[in-house]
């Protein structure tokens, strides 16, 4: 059986388990709805959910893009400037000791109830894994490559862009993969703290009105989006890694 068949089987298994639990215990639907009820709500409220999902997806995508770009640029800058590295690294490390969630209320205060406070949360949460992974990769270039570049009288910038950068692409790729899982968490936390749109807001609202089926339907949409986002980013990240290691399709076929 191939991988896809297994994924379908494991979904069927999980849903059956859920349905059995609901039927066997006779738990009321406002505590734990059955899969069928969640599906009905998902279809019935599809426009409502889609609208809120669109908001959350935009926050996540903009946040991920900005966070990754800023993180990558920071890594390049810290690689080039030793002074910046010495000055900024302690700040960066210290900033990671602050739980991003604790900043959510103040971000809402500063940036308002709109999408930007959530985008900023996603930026904050994705920035560090990208910056630190990429910087680590840039700094761990094979000593021999740098010696070779030095005997070739390569300039500092040329060495950075043509040796260190391509050699660090696998590290950048693992940073991006982490960031793709973190970004939705950032956006949802932001929505919980203060929002009038988005899946996080919808989940809180549904929970408060005992519409647990709607809560589960939103959660399902969010989880599906996160899985798709992570898969797309992984495909891109793995392509980057293969490119950096010179693993073309032919190599893989011959191996």
């Amino acid at each position: 059986m191939n991988r896809f068949t297994w994924i379908v089987l494991s979904c069927i298994f999980a849903i059956s388990l859920w349905q059995t639990l609901v039927s066997a215990t006779g738990v009321p639907h406002f505590i734990l709805p059955s899969p069928k009820q969640v599906l009905d709500t998902l279809i019935k409220s599809r426009e409502l959910i889609a609208w809120h999902a669109l908001i959350t997806i935009s926050e996540v995508l903009i946040g991920l893009l900005l966070g990754a770009a800023l993180g990558a640029l920071t890594a390049l800058h810290l690689m080039v400037s030793k002074t910046s590295r010495k000055l900024l690294m302690p700040i960066l490390v210290f900033s990671q000791a602050i739980p991003v969630f604790a900043l959510a209320p103040v971000l809402t205060l500063w940036l308002g109830y709109g999408i930007w406070s959530k985008v900023f949360m996603a930026v904050l949460i994705t920035y560090f894994p990208v910056a630190s992974n990429f910087l680590d990769g840039l700094r761990r270039t094979d000593r021999g490559f740098l010696d070779l570049a030095s005997t070739m009288r390569a300039g500092k910038w040329q060495t950075l862009l043509q040796i260190r950068l391509p050699a660090a692409l696998p590290s950048l790729a693992s940073g991006l993969k982490l960031a793709s899982v973190y970004a939705p968490i950032g956006a949802i936390i932001g929505e919980w703290v203060g929002a009038s749109d988005g899946l996080g807001y919808l989940m809180l609202l549904a929970n408060g009105r005992a519409k647990i089926d709607l809560m589960f339907a939103s959660l399902f949409v969010l989880a599906t989006f996160t899985v798709i986002l992570h898969s797309v980013i992984s495909i891109f990240a793995n392509w980057l890694t293969r490119r950096a290691k010179g693993e073309t399709k032919e190599v893989l076929e011959n191996a």
Binding site: G144, F145, A149, G246
Partner: protein
């Protein structure tokens, strides 16, 4: 004349070597042998102007050179041609693609110019590295055990190819293999803790056959010297 004299103190204030002296044969091969850790590679890195993690007592004018190490140091993200043209690209010059192809042909990799290092065998990778070294077209060529990772047949082939293609250049070869030095060296030297000692070397410019009695005799002489130092 390319000559090095001096002593080198390492980071923890111990002498790696003292009063070492090595003059390279202009337009020929100088082979440096010695046990591991004695400082052969450091001598080569001093010639190359590379970081040695130590303080060298004498000023040594850094010269332009091309460098080839035990690892082929091919960039995995570049194909063979890209690797051969790397030097020019790193200096921000326009690479001479035609010459790159000619050199790839001379090392026998014409059919593999657009392949990535991962697709090549160890021997082919070292030949690609040799083409890249030739592309740099420097008079001084520094080789740090470039053939040591190859099997016996490929090593012998590479020695002949390198000798042919690097003719006329001043070559310094750091090696562990007395047979390699016997075949290639116009000057052979053994390094130990007391300094660098010149040893007999082949006469004439051409490379010796591995089975020639002169090769075997030189090889034996070098091996005896190496073993005496180690004891």
């Amino acid at each position: 004349m390319i000559k090095l004299t001096g002593s080198l103190k390492t980071g923890n204030n111990t002498w790696l070597f003292k009063d070492a002296e090595l003059e390279l044969v202009a337009g020929g091969w100088t082979c440096l042998l010695g046990s591991s850790g004695v400082g052969k590679t450091t001598i080569l890195r001093l010639f190359a102007g590379l970081d040695t993690h130590g303080t060298f007592t004498d000023e040594l004018k850094t010269r332009n050179c091309s460098y080839m190490a035990q690892q082929d140091l091919l960039m995995p993200w570049l194909d063979v041609l890209g690797n051969v043209l790397l030097g020019a690209k790193l200096r921000g010059e326009t690479p001479d693609i035609k010459r790159g192809h000619q050199l790839i042909e001379r090392v026998g990799l014409s059919d593999h110019a657009s392949k990535y290092p991962r697709q090549l065998s160890g021997g082919m990778r070292q030949r690609a590295a040799l083409a890249r070294t030739l592309m740099e077209d420097q008079d001084l060529v520094l080789l740090d055990e470039p053939f040591s990772a190859l099997d016996a047949k490929k090593r012998a082939d590479m020695q002949e190819l390198a000798h042919e293609l690097l003719s006329g250049k001043t070559v310094m070869l750091v090696t562990h293999d007395p047979a390699e030095a016997a075949r290639l060296g116009d000057k052979n030297a053994v390094m130990d803790t007391t300094g660098i000692h010149e040893m007999p070397a082949k006469k004439g410019a051409s490379i010796l056959a591995p089975e020639a009695s002169e090769t075997l005799k030189l090889q034996a002489g070098l091996l005896v010297k190496l073993r005496k130092d180690a004891a």
